[in-house]
């Protein structure tokens, strides 16, 4: 759980399952994409403030 996904550098460069060096660019790119999604999802998962929902709640109802 606590293991870092951050791309390793230098002598610690990641190695693929077949033993060949993993392309550092691809690994880094995947890591970055995950972080961007994480950053976004973190806000999506937040509770929406009531003040924002109030805008819609206070709209005149359609049957008025």
């Amino acid at each position: 759980m606590g293991e870092s996904n951050k791309p390793a550098r230098g002598r610690n460069r990641a190695v693929a399952d077949d033993g060949k060096p993993r392309p550092p660019g691809a690994l880094r790119e995947r890591w970055l994409e995950e972080k961007v999604r994480q950053l976004y999802q973190e806000v999506v998962d937040e509770r929406v403030p009531g003040e924002l929902l109030e805008i819609l709640d206070r709209l005149p109802s359609e049957d008025k």
Binding site: E29, L39, E42, P49, E51, P60
Partner: protein, 200 residues
């Protein structure tokens, strides 16, 4: 949160009147109901997009608020069956960039980036790593953050992102590539300098 209480407290005529127009017998209730439902569905994503642009929780929610009001004002311009999410994202990003231009100052996101979202990472190491990423992300230009967020997290294709941002697909691809490159460079250096204010 300090969303302004005025516009939230009651529906101003600028919103009510367009809604009344939308509710004419031709397309009214269905369209306003559709807009309402779509806004509710999009709200979490609007907030996430706004946060990625402004880097500031309060300012982001103010932006979302203004985007909702603007969307309601322009509800009769929305064509049912088209991409509502893209439509309201466009409204929000236009509000953000117009406001930034007016203020002639870019956001100051680093304090907020430091302040927010510290409790989500599962371990201290991962948390520090994520904070590093967050800081690095917020030093990108707003256009880069926008492109990266829409393509990488918002679920938009390059062509849809280009339409939202009002630019060419190639420009979006370039912004995404450059953003990734800058992030990689910053994080590889393990040192993130705050970006000096920069107008969009």
């Amino acid at each position: 949160m300090t969303v302004r209480t005025g516009p939230v407290g009651r529906i101003p005529p600028s919103v009510r009147e367009p809604l009344d127009r939308v509710r004419d017998p031709g397309r009214g209730p269905q369209l306003s109901s559709l807009i309402n439902d779509e806004i509710v569905t999009c709200l979490p994503h609007l907030r996430a997009f706004a946060r990625s642009l402004s880097g500031d929780r309060v300012r982001a929610d103010d932006l979302v608020h203004d985007a909702i009001v603007r969307a309601l004002q322009a509800a009769d311009q929305f064509t049912p069956g088209t991409n509502f999410k893209a439509w309201i994202f466009t409204i929000l990003r236009n509000l953000y960039f117009n406001e930034s231009r007016r203020k002639r100052a870019a956001p100051q996101p680093l304090e907020d980036a430091d302040r927010e979202g510290r409790c989500t990472a599962p371990s201290q190491e991962a948390r520090l790593e994520f904070d590093d990423f967050r800081r690095a992300f917020m030093t990108l230009s707003p256009e880069q953050r926008e492109a990266l967020t829409l393509v990488g997290a918002g679920g938009f294709r390059y062509d849809e992102t280009a339409a939202i941002c009002g630019c060419a697909i190639g420009t979006i691809k370039s912004r995404v590539a450059r953003a990734r490159s800058e992030l990689s460079a910053m994080l590889a250096g393990d040192h993130v300098e705050p970006r000096v204010t920069r107008s969009p």
